[in-house]
Subunit: 290 residues, 2 copies
């Protein structure tokens, strides 16, 4: 049996009881280590489970799937994923390989940022398409996520922005020389994401008319850091305010709000920067339909 | 401290280790019992936790919040919610009351249908706004969810449809007489939801032109039953096929697909009805942007 087990968000104790029982019963346990991280590392998990973990980086999952699935028809193998196994990143490829090899699989779900974001007080019902914000380089500055945010806003929907993670990346130089030397991990902060977003806003303003539903420096956003952990931070502010916020260590996410239900406003107020809420687009509750 | 603890989907062992520790430490534990259910009841949870649970129906949560929060500044109180505490139904009102009373609160997240739906193989990134489908009555047959489905489809986005739950409802007669007699619980099935959807499709077809992106009897949908439980069922079929499917006991959910990535198609194929997949709107992977 192949178990795909979500670890949730936070630390070692965020695994479900069912998930922990499965981990303990498996002969091999892989830890997917390139799309998300907990606030604790591999060693802390090994100590908590009483098991050795095998780190599964992108190369192993994408090119060494046969190794992961080896003998999984006669023994139990666990594949651990931060969040939910089918959260922001799906592991469909691994599942399909198991199915085609006649290996049964089972998913043990857990929280992911895709649903835990609801704790900031914005209703999950009112979210549109989720977007990813990647680190810009000198030559590659994609803006397509901005158009999706505007489309969501036009439909009255909030946008969850997942922020870039670079783990085990090679520099172009090392890649070309075939050297397996990796850059230190990088995690985009709320401040960096807000800064990129403002650069897009300002570039577009110079070049074209600003749409009524476009994002501005005063658009109310929510910065989230280490959601689910003991030291999680939720900070509501204007995009401009979030550029200069420091929410500490990874992982961070950002929400761009759209029109708000009064109950959502009351919840945002709990963690709001001074003056941020005057910029909210509150709607009359009597006209609100969820 | 007020703990809001997600129970996940499935049975008693789907709680997180962190959640279970919190439950055991609390002096009072409430079980929210009107927006969702597990495959096991209150008694099974009580036995597993070794604690008495207090059932919290809609009346208690909406009108008796003070009772729930009583002494929570000096003792620990847990409020258990199937899925995630901020999943499909938010408990913002309870949180705000705690905040205003100076009672600290903590959320312990878990899987909810809002993220676990990803296990059917459709990527969470590609979902638009979530909708609710309610039981029609003779005089009330709301169709607004259908328009949201079409809007999502026009944007290339799948729609998760949450299906109605009626727990502790009074008949109009008993309500008017002030009799606290409640109807048996009702849970909408995939078949019932598909049937209501087809009725809308057919009524609109009689009255107007069918839009290119509208839903038809051949639109590929996914029926989900008891997600996360040992006996979960995922069934992919056309809307017409799902009308006659029997996926067993509650809870059920339905997904209306939009354009599909080839990897999504491969995953859907694993649980598909014969002939269903010829109706898929597959897109060229080279043009697909998540």
């Amino acid at each position: 049996m192949l178990y795909l087990i979500g670890l949730g968000l936070g630390d070692a104790t965020d695994i479900t009881v069912k998930g922990l029982q499965a981990v303990k019963s498996c002969s091999r346990v892989y830890l997917e280590a390139y799309t998300s991280i907990l606030t604790v590392g591999k060693e802390a998990l090994e100590e908590y489970y009483g098991k050795q973990l095998i780190l599964a980086d992108r190369d192993l999952v994408e090119q060494g799937a046969d190794e992961i699935l080896k003998d999984a028809d006669v023994t139990d193998v666990a594949f651990l994923v931060v969040g939910d196994p089918f959260g922001a990143t799906t592991h469909s490829d691994l599942v399909l390989r198991a199915v085609h090899a006649g290996i049964p699989y089972r998913v043990i779900h857990n929280a992911s940022i895709m649903n835990a974001v609801g704790c900031c007080g914005l209703q999950l019902y009112n979210f549109g398409e989720t977007v990813s914000v990647v680190f810009w380089t000198e030559t590659w500055r994609p803006e397509s996520f901005y158009d999706k945010i505007c489309k969501n806003r036009a439909a009255g929907l909030h946008t969850l922005c997942l922020l870039d993670i670079k783990v085990k990346e090679q520099s172009i130089e090392n890649m070309m020389r075939g050297k397996k030397i990796y850059e230190p991990p990088r995690f985009m902060t709320v401040s960096q994401a807000a800064d990129q977003l403002i650069q897009i806003v300002q570039r577009r303003r110079r070049e074209e008319e600003e749409g009524e539903l476009g994002v501005t420096e005063d658009t109310v956003c929510v910065g989230l850091a280490r959601l689910g952990a003991d030291d999680q931070i939720i900070r509501t502010g204007t995009l401009r305010q979030l550029v200069s916020c420091d929410l500490g260590g990874p992982l961070h996410s950002l929400v761009v709000t759209a029109r708000l239900h009064p109950l959502e406003v009351d919840m945002l107020r709990v963690n709001a920067e001074p003056d941020a809420l005057q910029h909210l687009r509150v709607i009359d509750s009597s006209t609100f339909t969820s």
